[in-house]
C-alpha cells in the first residue's frame, strides 16, 4: 500500500511489541540455526543408562534409572534392560531428547545388592 502522508505514526506500544517479537524470533532462530549449522541432522543418539537409586516397595524393590543422551539427535522407543542375578527386567521410554534425559523405573522381585545390578539400553528407534 502506498505511503500516505496523513497516516498517523505507529503508537509506541506497536514498536515495543514488534521489538519484543523480533528479539524472541532471533533467539529461537539462533538456537535452532546453531543446531542446524552444526550438521548434526543425521547423527546417532548416544545413550547411557545409570542407576539413580534403589528403594524398597511391597513385593520387591524399585530401581530408578536415568537415561542420558549425549548426542544432538533424539532417540525414540528406548528399551532398557536391568539385570540382577537371574532376574531380567525390561522397560521402555517414549523419547530421550537430544542432549536431554529421561527417567524410568525397573521393578525387581528379589533383594538387590548394588554390585550385582546392571542397567543398559538395548535398543531404540530412530525418529
Amino acid at each position: 500500500m502506498a505511503k500516505n502522508p496523513k497516516t498517523p505514526p505507529a503508537p509506541l506500544l506497536e514498536w515495543v511489541a514488534a521489538a519484543l517479537g523480533l528479539a524472541i524470533a532471533v533467539a529461537l532462530i539462533g538456537i535452532i540455526a546453531r543446531e542446524a549449522l552444526a550438521g548434526r541432522d543425521g547423527d546417532l543418539p548416544i545413550l547411557a543408562a545409570r542407576v539413580e537409586g534403589i528403594e524398597a516397595m511391597p513385593g520387591g524393590q524399585i530401581v530408578r534409572v536415568v537415561v542420558t543422551n549425549d548426542s544432538g539427535s533424539t532417540a525414540a522407543a528406548v528399551e532398557i534392560e536391568g539385570k540382577a542375578g537371574e532376574e531380567i527386567i525390561h522397560a521402555s521410554i517414549d523419547y530421550v531428547p537430544g542432549h536431554g534425559q529421561a527417567r524410568a523405573a525397573l521393578l525387581f522381585k528379589r533383594n538387590l545388592r548394588a554390585d550385582d545390578l546392571t542397567v543398559r539400553v538395548t535398543g531404540f528407534q530412530l525418529p
Binding site: M1, G21, A25, I29, I32, A36, A76, G98, H99
Partner: protein, 272 residues
Amino acid sequence: LVHSDRQYAVSLARAVAGAAIFSLPLMMTMEMWWLGFTLQPSRLLIFTLANFALLYGLSHVAGFEATQTWLDDILDTFAAYGVAAITGSLILAIFGVIEPHMPVREIAGKIAIQAVPASFGAMIGAKLLGEGEEIEQQERRWRESYGGRLFLALAGAMFLSFTVAPTEEMRLIAYRMTPWHALLLVLISILALHAIVYFVGFPGQKGRSQGGHGMNLLRQTLPAYAVSVLSCLYVLWCLGMLDGASPVVAAMSVAVLGLPAAIGAGIARVVI
C-alpha cells in the same frame, strides 16, 4: 484506525486470544511436543522463517489491526510472533510440557513449532472474535484482487488443516484407504470447495458468485484447490509427515489432508 497505545493494547489482547483459540488443540497434541525435538533443525528453521512471509501476507489481507503501510505490516508480523511465542510458552509451561531442567534446544524447539500456528491464530485474532469488519474495510482492495483471493484460499486451507496435520491419524487414514478411496476423496474435496464458494461467494468476493459453473470451476475452484494441495504438501513436509513415504502414500496423505484444506479454502472469507 489504531493510533494510540490504548487501542493497540486492545488489538494485542485480540492477538493473544486468537493465538490461544487457534493453537490450543495443537498445544494439547503430543505429536507437536515431540516434533519440537525430533524434527530436523534445518526443517524447523525453514518452517519458522517461511512463517514470517505468511504472517506478513495475513497482516496485509486481515491482521489483528488495520494496517496502512508495509512498515505497519512488518511491525505487526513480529508483534504477532512475539505474542504467539509468549502465549505458547506459558501454556506449554502450565501443561508441564516444558520444564526448566530440559535442554535449551528442546525448549526452544517446542516453543518454535507451536509459535507457527499460534502466530497464525494471533494474526486472525480479530476475525476469530468477530471484530474483523472494520479491518476488512481497510484491507478490501487487496482482499478482492485475484492474488488476494488465492492468498485467502491458502490461509483458509491452513486454518482448517493445520490442527490435524501433525497427528498420527493422517498417516493411518492414508494407509487404510485404497487408491480408489483417495480418488473419490479428491473429487469430493473439489466438489465441496466448489459448492461452498458458489453459494457463499468465492474467497474475498462479496456475495454469491455470478457466471457459469464451468468458468467458475476453472477460474476459482481449481486454483483454490491447487493452492490447498500445495499448502498441505508444505505443512506435511515441514512436520516430517512425508519422510520415508512412497509417492503414492504421500499423494494419499495429501488427499486426506486436502479435504479439510479445501473446505477451509472455501470458508476463507468467513474465518480470515
